[in-house]
């Protein structure tokens, strides 16, 4: 196989806006660039919240329906529980030098990661381009996104 199957480009689709998914996506994209691999992110459905100017700093981790939280589902649903778990996680992340969402987006953009919004999801949520971050590279259809990912050594990842 050409280039021994080396990964040349990561096309990551982010469809969720729970903090742990957003960070997984951002760390993978940034990590790709750090290894000399190209990276592009397609924000679709709830993933759009991660690039929505007014929402991106208010994302939460999921305490309900998440068995790895090791807390009874009833407790996870109590008022303030998500905020508490989120602030605890944010403190731990700051210790590990993981930036907040807004700063992370700046880092990704400066590192050459392309940031795309999904046209269909934007129509569905009635978002306009000016609602989204200024680092946005554009609004794409699914077909456009596949075109972006063409070439040998491209991998696609759905989060």
């Amino acid at each position: 196989m050409e280039d021994n199957g080396k990964i040349k480009k990561m096309m990551i689709i982010l469809s969720k806006a729970t903090l742990e998914n957003v960070y997984a996506c951002f760390v993978l994209a940034n990590g790709a660039r750090m290894e000399g691999i190209q990276a592009e992110i397609f924000f679709t459905f709830f993933g759009l919240e991660a690039i929505h100017r007014k929402k991106l700093e208010h994302l939460h981790i999921a305490t309900v329906g998440n068995p790895a939280m090791h807390m009874p589902t009833m407790l996870g649903g109590l008022p303030g529980m998500e905020a508490l778990a989120t602030s605890m996680m944010k403190k731990e992340m700051e210790k590990l030098d993981i930036p907040p969402v807004g700063e992370f987006i700046e880092i990704l953009s400066a590192s050459g990661v392309k940031l795309w919004a999904c046209k269909l999801a934007m129509d569905m949520f009635h978002y306009k381009e000016e609602d989204l971050i200024e680092e946005l590279d554009g609004v794409l259809t699914v077909g456009d996104f596949y075109k972006q990912g063409s070439g040998v050594g491209t991998h696609m990842l759905f989060i």
Partner: protein
């Protein structure tokens, strides 16, 4: 393993990172840069000097930290050392590969 570069023998790991910073000289740095297709400019040297200073202070390096260094921003860092900038810059600087994921 031993590696011969500009007529000197240096101790490197399997990825080509120097195991002993004490063996590093600016000439070796220049030769390592050329192996990575980089010709070092004064801007490159400012970044390498910063990276070595942080290493000597036992301060772990990350892309975020480079961006906040005041020496270079992340965009220029990627322009100076295209393709895996933190790995390439630390390799040229003669220090171990950073273990950071950020």
């Amino acid at each position: 393993m031993e590696k011969l570069i500009i007529g000197r023998s240096i101790d490197v790991n399997e990825e080509g990172f120097m195991n002993q910073f004490s063996q590093w000289t600016r000439e070796i740095g220049e030769a390592l840069a050329l192996e990575n297709n980089i010709s070092l400019s004064p801007r490159h040297w400012e970044v390498i000097d910063y990276i070595q200073k942080e290493y000597k202070n036992d301060s772990p390096l990350s892309i975020r930290k480079i961006g906040k260094s005041g020496v270079v921003d992340i965009k220029e860092f990627y322009e100076l050392f295209p393709d895996a900038p933190l790995k390439t810059a630390t390799k040229i600087a003669g220090i171990p590969k950073p273990v950071s994921c950020i």
